[in-house]
Symmetry: C2
């Protein structure tokens, strides 16, 4: 496998919802050669470009500053494929990514939860897979219009190895484009650390339709949140990833001042859209079962979310 | 203990929400001597009486057809106390009932769930306790105004014995007042049978904020409903109450044609009122623990409901 060209890499963004649009637009604004694969917003974005309303300053990206497609077979082979599909669409992900792959293509998943790197590795080989976590509060508010509300930093790491030159170069591309992006020595550790927060606040919060403040304002709620966090910590430990004993305390402490924050999963539920249940909680439960780690609270919440999702699918 | 006077019994209704108002008004309309203990609706009902909008025919009860109080110490001692408090107010129940008790007073609880007879027995002696289940869909829609939407039948049974004369006489009083009321040979069996329905549809439904149709329209939901029903059946069995193997099938079958039915607990949650969590699910979980019956689903739902209730209390 040759090294990716970083002189003028061809970058494909697969599934440009809010996250793909935001980071892709930042890369394109910096002059990178960005090719977006869109579905519902294709016609609007092709005509009007992207509009980014950001707490860091609004900007627009004209249609001649990037390329847009609604069929991956019309796209050039890419040096870097950035997958920003919602994980609920992962069943179509391999067929969307396959036409973009050449010998030295790197595939970067910026999706939520677990199992996304594994899926890419299974289809395209583990050595080309890189993972990123986007810590960003962002919404698509209209076709082609994205509202960047808070945060925005990215962490990137290798799926099956320590950081390489390519990992650092991807981080540099983001940094050059005005995005805080650091390299993680251990991507899996970063993903599990994020799950310690996501499983109670996205998972439990969406199941019960309670925001972070409602979950934490009572002892009973905080106890349940901490119980779920401890289950996540226990799975990570069985995988060889140890967190300090006060990791749950720290997560609770940073969340309390956030006020009544609705997670993406709670918002998806409220708006009748499928929630990313399997990536955020189903896959971790599967790993717990394989490792023999008891996670009764996570299992129950997973079952509840699965049934709410099924109810949303059934319409 | 002397037998209750059924010539002209003094009937006290303690906590006249929708259920107490509805049945009390029917008894008073038939000419029984009914004394209502009210809190929030006291002034309005004293002035305007009760208005019952019923699927069986609307009726009004003028203020001179009954007596109304806002302090139990102002009430006469009763031959029959009917407790229709919401079970979430059970901490004040003994102090409301105590002033009404004389040597031969019978206390009839028409509350939901488990533990209400036990609480009365603990304070006033088990031999005077009778229990009733009201199968009724009813709402208080304004002060003094109750909307009777569906059903309405009552089942009455002794707490610690087989039916007695007094049990049959209470049923007769209801029947005379136009209420379908039969005597149960085994009140506990009736209560557990009702819980087989209430724990999934009230409990799970309120925790996830899903109505009966949303719970049953998917396989995942029906599986969870049935899983909860089996846990309830298992506790009852450990208590010596056996249900036929198809009891859950029957409950599911009668519920499917009901359409999108919101239980009282889901409505309480949506309107920000305390849910009857302990009576409907907390007390059964406590019994399961005492008997060593594993009820992991019920425990988790109980914890979730407790935290939602705590969040409602905290306002």
């Amino acid at each position: 496998m040759r090294a990716m060209s970083f002189e003028k890499p061809v970058i494909a963004i697969v599934g440009a919802g809010a996250v793909g649009a935001f980071y892709g637009a930042k890369l394109a604004r910096r002059g990178f050669d960005v090719h977006f694969l869109l579905r519902s917003d294709y016609a609007v974005v092709r005509q009007r470009g992207w509009t980014i309303r950001s707490k860091d300053g609004d900007f627009a990206l004209a249609p001649d500053q990037f390329r847009v497609y609604n069929d991956p077979r019309a796209m050039p082979k890419a040096d870097l494929v950035i997958v920003t599909l919602k994980a609920t669409s992962n069943d179509v992900m391999p067929s969307l990514v396959a036409p973009l792959i050449k010998d030295d293509t790197i595939v970067l998943t910026m999706q939520n939860g677990l199992g996304n790197e594994e899926l890419l590795a299974q289809h395209f080989g583990a050595e080309r897979v890189v993972g990123a976590m986007a810590f960003v509060c962002i919404n698509r508010i209209a076709p082609g219009v994205v509202h960047h509300i808070d945060q925005g930093f990215v962490r990137v790491g290798e799926f099956i190895s320590a950081p390489k030159d390519r990992t650092r170069r991807i981080a540099e591309m983001f940094e050059l484009s005005g995005i805080d992006c650091k390299v993680l020595d251990d991507l899996a550790r970063g993903r599990w650390d994020k799950l310690i927060w996501n499983i109670p606040f996205n998972g439990l919060g969406a199941a019960l339709d309670l925001d972070t403040q409602q979950l934490l304002k009572t002892e009973a709620g905080e106890r349940m949140v901490r119980g779920l966090m401890q289950e996540v910590v226990a799975i990570a430990k069985a995988r060889g990833i140890e967190f300090p004993p006060d990791q749950a305390d720290k997560k609770v402490a940073i969340t309390k001042p956030m006020g009544p924050y609705r997670t993406s999963m709670q918002i998806d539920r409220q708006e009748g859209r499928l929630m990313e249940v399997e990536a955020i909680i189903g896959y971790p439960v599967k790993i717990a079962d394989e490792l023999g780690v008891p996670v009764p609270r996570m299992k129950m919440i997973h079952e509840c979310l699965a049934l709410i999702n099924a109810s949303i699918s059934a319409g």
